[in-house]
Amino acid sequence: MQEQLSRRKLLLGGAMTAAVVLVKSAFGKMVQTGIPASTMDPTKVQGPLPGPLGSRSPFEQPQRKFSLTSSQTPLQDLFGTITPSDLHFERHHAGVPAIDPNTYELMIHGMVERPTIFSLHDLKRFPAVTRTCFIECSGNFRKPDKETITPQEICGLTSQSEWTGVMLSTIFREVGIAPKATWFLAEGGDAAMMTRSIPVSKGLDDAMIVYAQNGEAIRPQQGYPARLLLPGWEGNTSIKWLRRIEVADAPFMTREETSKYTEPVKDGKIRQFSFTMDARSVITYPAYPVQVEKGWIEIQGIAWSGHGKIAKVEISTDGGKHWYPARLQEPVFDKAHTRFRYLWQWNGQSTEIMSRAIDDTGYIQPFLKQIIADRGIGTGYHLNPVTSWQIRRDGQVLYQPEKWI
């Protein structure tokens, strides 16, 4: 070890570096590590040696855009379908709680034969399942009134991870839920003690209690050490920092399912328990703020549906007059972000490009005017309109603002 350390010193001491930063070595000592200047020939200088944790290239700095209550995933900076865990969107109502996994407990009670308390260790002993799906906040739409807005700002409250945990149906069987049970309350261990009522049918279908995200323990911002995961449903229902489940025969009518996460619809009605996220897509390239060149452009983006698989994504490059099928990246997962691509030869004329998702139920992603016509101008939440981008003659790409009223 000592020998290795001195070798490292020697190597770094002899190398030309553009910048020097201090990092903690595997041996707990602060050592210098060099960031090579871009002008240097990396074939003529030794690089840093292996360390305990990897890091992004200093040339890559994707960032979430955050406010007091949420942070948005930089969709335009990502490839494929997995959201790096540190770029997963956040929405929480009282900050991120610090929970010790050794004292963490999940209580399940109410209409069950055996009220039980599970430790994290207990949860991990059950047969595990891994699945990839998106989580999207049902408030994932900003009414943009300007052209200079990115995919991240329009709909960055959706992210995708590979989740691992135990099926809630396994846990329900373990505690013996009553045949007459129809709803359950899920409660978080944050300072808001967030609660939502969930139909037992979802719990028995594909709900999970997950403790891992993208191969490692869930991040605190995503619910460490364990959260509920309801694939395809509005993100708020996938209660993070899950500490209690109460099985019942009616919804509890919590604040989050009455005064929030409900939407005005026609005839003065207020729609409640709109759980499923409808199909949606967004072009992430080309999109503001990029500037494109005349010639071949591979249009790409993501599409997803809480109802099932994405069956088709259609692209229009003439403002919606004609639509052509995009290629979908296989494998296409159920209730998951799906990457689409469409090769297009731009002739240099100004135009408008847009995408629309179609899922395996046949649902077609609507335009904003269709949503408003259906629900009224005072509606909110669950807004999934087609997003279009103007391509100017000089190659500048700008958002095409939608008229709300």
Binding site: H93, A94, M107, I108, H109, R114, P115, T116, I117, F118, S119, D122, R125, F126, P127, R173, E174, L185, E187, A191, A192, M193, T195, R244, E246, A248, A250, P251, F252, M253, T254, R255, T258, S259, T262, P264, V265, K266, D267, G268, K269, I270, R271, Q272, F273, S274, F275, T276, R375, G376, I377, G378, T379, W404, I405
Partner: protein, 176 residues
């Protein structure tokens, strides 16, 4: 020979089928004391509401001390969530305007939710710090300010579920 092959098949099936118990026995039994120690989520029928009661006048004092800095002196000013509706449930329908403020009096369908939410999450800087009586009192004051109860109405486990919320009839369940 046939018997031998059959035996092998049975053996292979046996080896490859996973046994799954009805019950793993993981976790430990939750005691009645442990269950009772958790503040209940209060459904519309009021099950789980604690003993005690609150009045509008007590609530007025408590609100001013612990809530007004975020929600305004009369519950309409903000800067955070407006709690007192500036109109009634029968004003211009919510779907026809983008400007109408949603508050307890015109948008919330159940009075029990007010108690439940204040008790679990408020005040924002000190959640869980209010006594049940304080929660009842603030609930009473908010319902009064929203013109849902009169000034002398006492809020307790029996009366809270009886408060009529005008928005209740507007709610429809999504067909998803």
């Amino acid at each position: 020979m046939f018997k031998h092959i059959l035996y092998c098949c049975v053996l292979i099936i046996a080896c490859h089928s996973e046994n799954k118990p009805d019950h793993f026995g993981f976790g430990r039994a939750a005691t009645q004391q442990e269950i009772a120690a958790v503040p209940a989520a209060i459904p519309p029928d009021g099950t789980g509401l604690p003993p005690g009661q609150g009045t509008v006048s007590e609530g007025s004092v408590c609100y001013a001390a612990k809530c007004a800095s975020c929600h305004g002196n009369t519950g309409t000013e903000g800067p955070f969530n407006v709690l007192v509706a500036p109109d009634t449930a029968n004003a211009i329908p919510f779907d026809q305007t983008v400007f109408r403020v949603k508050a307890i009096g015109n948008y919330w369908p159940y009075a029990t939710t007010v108690f439940d939410y204040i008790r679990r999450a408020m005040p924002f800087n000190a959640p869980g710090s209010l006594t049940d009586q304080e929660v009842y009192s603030i609930t009473a004051w908010l319902l009064y300010r929203n013109q849902l109860i009169n000034e002398n109405f006492v809020i307790n486990a029996h009366t809270l579920p009886t408060v009529v919320m005008p928005a209740r009839s507007k709610y429809v369940v999504s067909d998803n």
